[in-house]
């Protein structure tokens, strides 16, 4: 833990606590009112899920279009448990259940499908996401197409921020570790990575499951904020939303994903009454971006806060992790 924190100098801490405090005060004095709180939560949830997708897409170079399916698992677990047991302990138990289920389902999907390459993987994960959705649609306990309603609300700014920070730190530590570098080498050249002794399948499966866990956490936070969840909330369109955030921010870039999640969620709010126009803009943006800047705006680069304050980051070595 000490080591995990030692790499962050005071500007980082100032920003992490500053953003939290500022938003908390703004909520307290009601400048961020109930309406803006929805947007704020939307940003946080998209960010967590998109970070998970970015791990899969940006670090190991695999493709997943079934991300919303894992979000559904987290959401339904929390919903079912907290409706029966409406307490904070119930919430954590539900989230934990979601995480366990996600690991199981993620492994079941990942182990066979990650043997596939690129496009096949995209279709297989898309299919898996659809299968999860259709199963939720047909189960008794999930109340079919009507979904679950009356879920107690636990998600607030503090809880959301803790999870956002945890996910960012987790991914940052992963990216600049030996494990992360191994994943990046798989993305660049799988055969060469394998020849260098990297256990390609193991790393791909692990990253896939990590990414799925992020989505599950996002789903848990989603369910206990919006009161209502339905299977159709977690369809292909949502997976595409996350894909859009990752692609826009840059595949492999954490800071890019943060910026893109904020930007895209705000854009969604502004264009709320023009839902079709919004999708047309997204689609055009995807096409143009892929033609002119296929790695996304930031590529896999990061914006280091520390560097802005003139402190040199010890070049991302830390070979011992």
């Amino acid at each position: 833990m000490k080591k995990l924190l030692s790499r962050f100098h005071w500007p980082m801490w100032a920003i992490i606590l500053g953003v939290y405090g500022l938003v908390a005060i703004l909520i307290e004095v009601d400048i961020i009112n109930a309406y803006y709180r929805i947007t704020l939560t939307q940003i946080g949830i998209s960010l967590i899920a998109a970070l998970g997708l970015n791990m899969i897409l940006g670090l190991s170079g695999q493709f997943s279009l079934g991300h919303a399916g894992f979000m559904a698992i987290g959401a339904y677990s929390v919903a079912i448990v907290t409706i029966a047991q409406p307490s904070v302990i119930g919430w954590f138990a539900g989230m934990l259940l979601g995480l366990v289920l996600t690991v199981v389902v993620g492994l079941v999907i990942a182990i066979p499908t990650l043997r596939l390459k690129g496009d096949y993987l995209a279709i297989a994960t898309l299919g898996s996401g659809e299968i999860i959705r259709i199963i939720l649609l047909n189960m008794k306990i999930t109340n079919g197409a009507a979904g679950l309603s009356g879920i107690p609300q636990f998600t607030n700014w503090t809880l959301l921020y803790i999870f956002i920070m945890f996910c960012i730190l987790f991914m940052a530590r992963l990216k600049f570790s030996r494990f992360g570098r191994a994943a990046l080498s798989i993305k660049d050249d799988e055969i060469a990575a394998e020849a260098m002794g990297i256990q390609v399948t193991k790393i791909k499966v692990m990253i896939f499951v990590f990414g799925a866990l992020f989505a599950s956490v996002a789903g848990s936070l989603y369910a206990s904020f919006y009161y209502v969840i339905k299977p159709e909330t977690f369809g292909i369109a949502r997976s595409i939303d996350f894909l859009m955030i990752v692609v826009l921010g840059g595949m492999g870039s954490i800071s890019g994903t943060i910026a893109a999640a904020i930007f895209m969620s705000l854009l969604t709010v502004f264009l709320q009454s023009f839902a079709q126009l919004r999708m047309i803009i997204y689609a055009l943006a995807l096409i143009v971006l892929m033609i002119y800047r296929p790695t996304g705006l930031l590529g896999s680069k990061e914006i280091f806060v520390n560097r802005m304050f003139g402190k040199k980051v010890k070049s991302s070595g830390n070979s011992s992790s």
Binding site: F63, P112, T113, L116, A124, I134, I240, L286, P294
Partner: protein
């Protein structure tokens, strides 16, 4: 038994549709190794063009079908030129994301232009059901079978006998060598897209006539299922796509017939995952090795 035969007939007519769409996937994949996610939208646009040709211009069904095929082929050609051609040498993921973008662009542009509601496709002729030993086969189904058969024979002849078919096969086998032999690779690829789009448009129009309803999102699920069909039969093989289409249509209809209609979409994807694990090259695929 009669019931089963009836399900087979229904499954085959649905399968014909999937087969027509799957052909486009398989041809495009065979030639540039891209899953054209926007292919299901060609099917949707074909259906809408036929719809407007029949309702606004009062054309008979067959003429509308033909014009819709030609127009959709043009659209396929243009999309290839604008969206996919600049990505010829990009990574597979970039091309795939572009295809997803094109798919969404077409869906929502159509929705923007014609509205999101379901439209009723005009009948155009009186449907009748013929009775063969207790098994009913409707005029619509006969129409689907005959159009599909004609198109498949035409495509097969085109690919195997004509000059453009030969250049398509050459580009699919080795792009660079084909270019060195004087084949215009870009033109061949664009024509492949156009052909696939025309077949999808035919399928879309037939579906409009068969089920009487069309909507801007009608292409998503059949598109994915047709892709599964193409993989099932062995992607890149034209005969495989036909076989796969019929197989998926039959599987789906039989599952519904047994009473699991809600699970039919899940089952199709399950078939895909099983095929990809057991025999990724599909029924007719040879299973080449990935070159280092």
């Amino acid at each position: 038994m009669v019931q089963f035969a009836q399900q087979v007939i229904n499954g085959m007519s649905l399968g014909s549709i999937y087969a027509l769409v799957a052909l486009g996937y398989t041809m495009v994949y065979g030639i540039i190794k891209l899953i054209n996610f926007a292919h299901g939208e060609m099917y949707m646009i074909g259906a809408f063009l036929s719809f407007y040709l029949i309702t606004t211009f009062k054309l008979p069904f067959f003429l509308a079908l033909l014009i819709s095929m030609v127009l959709t082929a043009l659209l396929g050609f243009v999309i290839e030129r604008i969206a996919y051609k600049p990505l010829r040498n990009a990574t597979r993921i970039a091309a795939l994301i572009t295809a997803i973008g094109v798919s969404f662009l077409l869906q929502y542009s159509t929705m923007f232009l014609v509205g999101a509601d379901i439209k009723v496709f005009p009948e155009g002729f009186t449907n009748r059901t013929f009775n063969l030993l207790g098994v009913g086969i409707s005029l619509k189904q006969i129409l689907i079978f005959s159009v599909t058969a004609v198109l498949m024979v035409a495509l097969n002849t085109l690919v195997n006998k004509s000059k453009i078919g030969r250049s398509m096969r050459a580009v699919s086998a080795d792009k660079e060598a084909a270019a060195l032999m004087g084949i215009d690779v870009d033109r061949t690829i664009a024509i492949t897209f156009a052909l696939g789009a025309a077949l999808a448009a035919a399928a879309g129009s037939l579906v409009g006539m068969y089920y009487n309803t069309i909507s801007p999102l009608m292409g998503v699920t059949p598109g994915l299922k047709a892709f599964v069909a193409a993989v099932f039969g062995g992607i890149g093989h034209i005969k495989g796509a036909m076989l796969g289409g019929f197989a998926i249509g039959l599987i789906e209809t039989l599952v519904v017939g047994v009473g699991y209609s809600l699970m039919k979409d899940a089952l199709v994807f399950f078939v895909l995952i099983v095929v990809l694990i057991v025999k990724p090259s599909g029924l007719l695929g040879k299973g080449g090795r990935e070159k280092v």
